[in-house]
Each structure stands twice: as structure tokens, then as C-alpha cells.
Symmetry: C2
Subunit: 308 residues, 2 copies
């Protein structure tokens, strides 16, 4: 195999109460990435989108992952990667994770599936490190594996794929800038034990709800008393979007990753569509451009579109 | 029905990383309680054990529960309760919860099953309040329902019964006094967010492991970075008991409730027996009397032995 084209899903990290441990893949938006195995050791990155991302390998999220793989294998081959990015950088929908996980997956496929899942995650985390300074896997794991994943630990890598409930997702990306580093710095280093106890009750409830396919339990567990009250300040109209989503029948939801995107889970597609419409109109009213997405939870992760 | 005799299981609260939210019923030890419905409004409590527990209704854990039920229903009847207590008070194995949950269950049965599960938990929590000053349900819920339970919230009461893995339990109760109130006061009110994140990764892993019946995942999730490092100081030889249990093949374990009992989960009965033997010998060596118990996770909760 010399060429491959893959579809790489967006992801929602944290899932409200699961800060730094839970993540979920969604069907919309997604990136496409085309890979060619080269006879020369070059790492060539091309972006067909207009996001102005760096194309120099060592400055590009996909590039650094491929460089690490090349270095690890002492590979004489290189890769040419063309990235059609639809997941907007800075959206909080796992744009960098898509490039990083896509690079690991694409290289692994072209090289004959030589890596384990954990090895792919290991290499992809170098991309996240370039993007945000932190080697985390909350977006990478669901992007690669699909569904909902628990990152129990990254050192050693211990990823638990959870059950994938049959739910819809409405997401809005308001065009305001929330830097991951700012969203991290704003958090308190110390928290109250009593708040932590409430949070881990919710996390336990959320995991139980996901595993039991108990939608009501998922809904009443999507409650974050630690991170959301702090971070939501950075997102205009967050409280209104959330309150109106619940009124319209959302099971629950909150900030996607470190924001500014907001996601909501619903049982029916129709409900998700109504919520997306409402989200858009809220940002239209205050003249903030926004993009909305309605889709199902993505059960499969990265998929091969074609190869030859 | 005028008379009933029930068996009430011991319980292990917290389950290492699930401080204040998880609990598990075990087959050994257990209390027996006999109830008679009286025509007079008296609440008569008799203990056949020698633990010196108060028998005045308003000072007795079972008594206060029955008083609350009587008051709530404006009941003209009273109850006579004979308690054969085997779960030692102060053991950390849910002795007060057994009396409290047993009282609620016994009264409810004699009155024709008029209460919901949540109502029984509501009344039983008055017993826990008398015993420890805190209206908690971590022991009451598994005692009543059996298996492993998640107390997502006590106000409103939101209890999630989890899957009941087919595992054995070895427990040791060294005869040292650890007051629940001391065990609570020793805890820090503030914790590091990074520790909390590790803890909720473990809780999520534990709940996923329980639901998936994944014993290895249960084992590597039984890790507490917040409570155990502080509370284990109150329990002599804790570290040695834990380390040797793991060497002998325990999946994991830790402090039962607020101690001083220590429990370990195992896949095989034989392993639990070896661990119990080792536990006993460790306390024998330092001249601390201890009691050991080997049993399965109790799947049923409180059970009726006979009625007429």
C-alpha cells in the first residue's frame, strides 16, 4: 500500500464532569487526510484549508507525529500528507487531536499496521504536546477508537473504551478565542474535597449511565461543579445556551474540551436540530459568528475512505 | 404479619477510591434482627450481644429509625426488636448501617411494604446520623440492596445499583479504635485538582470495571491518592497488610469505610483465605487481637429468614 485517504472525526473532551479523563467522538465535523509513503525521507505537509496552519513538519501537529515515528523506526521512507481540515483550530472540538491521531493512524496503515493502539496514542500525544504544551489523550483516544473513552492514565497509557450510547449531539462553535493555555490557567490548583466528592459521584454516575445505556442517568450526571463554573465565564452566553438546551429536551451537556464550543446530548435527532437552531440564533443576536453541528456519537473512530 | 426475622449484611463503604459514594455488601459478618409489631406504641430494643449498645429507643440506632417511621406515619403501633449483632461496632464494616437499614426494612415488611427503597434509605439515614453525626448512605444503600451501589446524591436520594461482580472478599478487623469522627477530621478540606483528576480517573475505571465485569480493570482502579494516604496512618500495619495481600494475588483493596478494618478483593476463594490467614498473623505478631472474614460479595442485601 502506497496511498491512503482517511476520515478523522471531531471529538468532545471532558464530557462535563470528566475533566481530563473522558472524551467522545462525533460524526460532524471531520477532517480528511491523504497519505503517500515516499521513497525519500521527506515529511511533506500540505493543508488545503485556509486556517494558516504551519506546513513545516516540525511545526505542524501531524508533522511532529510523523517525525517521531520516523525517528523511532529509523525509517528511510518519508510521508506526504494532505490535510483537508474542517474541524476548526481553536474550536475545542479536537482539531489538533484529529491531525495528531490521523497522522499516527495513516502512517501505521501505510507501514502495515505495525503499531498497537497504545503505540499510536503514544506517538499522537507528541502532536498534542506541540499544540497545547500538554501530552494528553482525552481527544486522541476517542478520535482513534470512536465512541466514548476513559483515559485512566497516560503514563503508562491505560485507555478504557466505554459503551457507545445511541445518542445525538448538537454542538455550537461561537467564533471567540479561548486559548487552551488560558482555559487551563484560569482553573484553581486547589479544590474543596466536598466538591470533589460531588464531582466523582457525577463521574461514577456518568460512567454507569454510559455502560448501562441509561439515558436519564447520563443526563443527571452531566453536572460539573468544579471546572464549568470557572471556564464558562470565558464563553459568551454559555448559561443561556445551556438553560435553553435543557428546556428544549437536551439530556445535558456543557463546554467541549476547553471551549469555546458547547455540546449537548439528546435522544432524538429532531431535538438536537432544534437545539442547534436555538444556539445559532443566540449568537446571531449578539453578532458573534457561529457554526453548528448535529450528528450522532461516532462509534468507529478514524476510518479509511480509500487506499491503493 | 406480626413477626419477622431478617439477616442484615456487613458493608464496605468507599471501596478505596470511591470516598463517600461507593459501598458493597458482603456475606460475612452479618447481624440478625427479630421484629414484632406491637399493639402499643412502645419501641422496645433488645440486644443479645455484649457490645453494650444503648437500648433506649432514642439512643439506639435502630430505635431512632423506628421512632421516625412511627412519627411519620402517626402510627399507633410500636415495635419490639431483638438484635443479634455480629458486625462489631467501630469495625468500619457498617455495624450502625446494619441496625439502621435493618430497622427500616423490618418495619416496612411488618407494615406491608408501604415504603419505596428511597424512603427506607431516608429513614435509615437517621440511624447513621445518630451513630456518626452524618446522614450518609454509603453503607445503608448496599446493606439494603446488596451488591455494589453508587450513592450519587443523598438530597435528593439518588442511588444507582451497579453490577455485582463474582468476587471474594477477605477482611480483617484489628481491634484498634478509629472513631469515624476522627477519621473524618484528619482529612484535608482542600485537595489538589491534579490529585482529584487522578482519583476520578480511578473511580471511572472502577465503575467501568464493575459494570464490564473486568476484574483486572477493577484491580488497577482500586487506588486512592487522597483519603488512604491520610487515614491509613491510623491503622497499624496497613501498608504491610496491603502489600502482602497484593503479593498473594489480591486484585486490590484498602480501608473499609473509615477503618480500622481492611478489605481485599480476590477472584478465588482460596486466595481470600490465604490473605485472611496472613492478615491474622500480622496482627498476632504485634499482639493486636483481630477478626478475619472471608466471603463473597453479597448480591441480595437484607433477607427475610422467617416470618409469621
Amino acid at each position: 500500500m502506497k496511498k491512503i485517504k482517511i476520515r478523522v472525526p471531531a471529538t468532545v473532551a471532558n464530557l462535563v464532569c470528566g475533566f481530563d479523563i473522558l472524551g467522545m467522538a462525533i460524526n460532524q465535523p471531520y477532517d480528511e487526510m491523504e497519505f503517500k509513503l515516499l521513497e525519500t525521507p521527506d515529511i511533506i505537509i500540505k493543508h488545503t484549508d485556509n486556517f494558516g496552519l504551519p506546513e513545516k513538519a516540525e511545526e505542524n501537529v501531524a508533522g511532529v507525529v510523523l517525525l517521531k515515528i520516523q525517528e523511532h523506526l529509523k525509517l528511510k521512507n518519508g510521508f506526504e500528507v494532505t490535510i483537508h481540515k474542517n474541524i476548526k483550530p481553536g474550536s475545542g472540538l479536537g482539531s489538533s487531536a484529529a491531525s495528531a491521531a490521523g497522522a499516527a493512524f495513516g502512517a501505521n496503515t501505510l507501514l502495515g499496521n505495525i503499531f498497537s493502539q497504545n503505540q499510536m496514542i503514544h506517538f499522537a500525544m507528541f502532536g498534542e504536546e506541540l499544540a497545547s504544551g500538554v501530552r494528553h489523550a482525552d481527544n486522541i483516544a476517542p478520535c482513534l477508537l470512536g465512541g466514548i473513552t476513559l483515559v485512566k492514565s497516560t503514563d503508562p497509557i491505560d485507555i478504557i473504551p466505554l459503551n457507545c450510547p445511541n445518542l445525538f449531539v448538537a454542538a455550537v462553535h461561537p467564533q471567540v478565542e479561548v486559548k487552551t493555555s488560558d482555559a487551563r490557567q484560569i482553573l484553581k490548583k486547589n479544590i474543596l474535597l466536598k466538591d470533589a466528592v460531588q464531582q466523582w459521584g457525577n463521574i461514577a454516575g456518568l460512567v454507569a449511565g454510559i455502560e448501562k445505556n441509561d439515558h436519564a442517568l447520563i443526563g443527571r450526571s452531566l453536572n460539573d461543579v468544579i471546572i464549568e463554573p470557572v471556564r464558562s465565564i470565558l464563553i459568551p452566553k454559555f448559561d443561556e445556551v445551556k438553560a435553553k438546551s435543557l428546556q428544549l429536551g437536551a439530556l445535558g451537556g456543557g463546554i467541549s474540551g476547553s471551549g469555546p464550543s458547547i455540546f449537548m446530548l439528546t435522544e432524538k435527532e429532531e431535538t438536537a436540530e432544534k437545539i442547534a437552531e436555538m444556539m445559532k440564533s443566540i449568537y446571531d443576536e449578539i453578532n458573534i459568528e457561529s457554526f453548528v453541528y448535529v450528528s450522532k456519537i461516532n462509534p468507529a473512530g478514524i476510518e479509511i475512505i480509500n487506499e491503493d
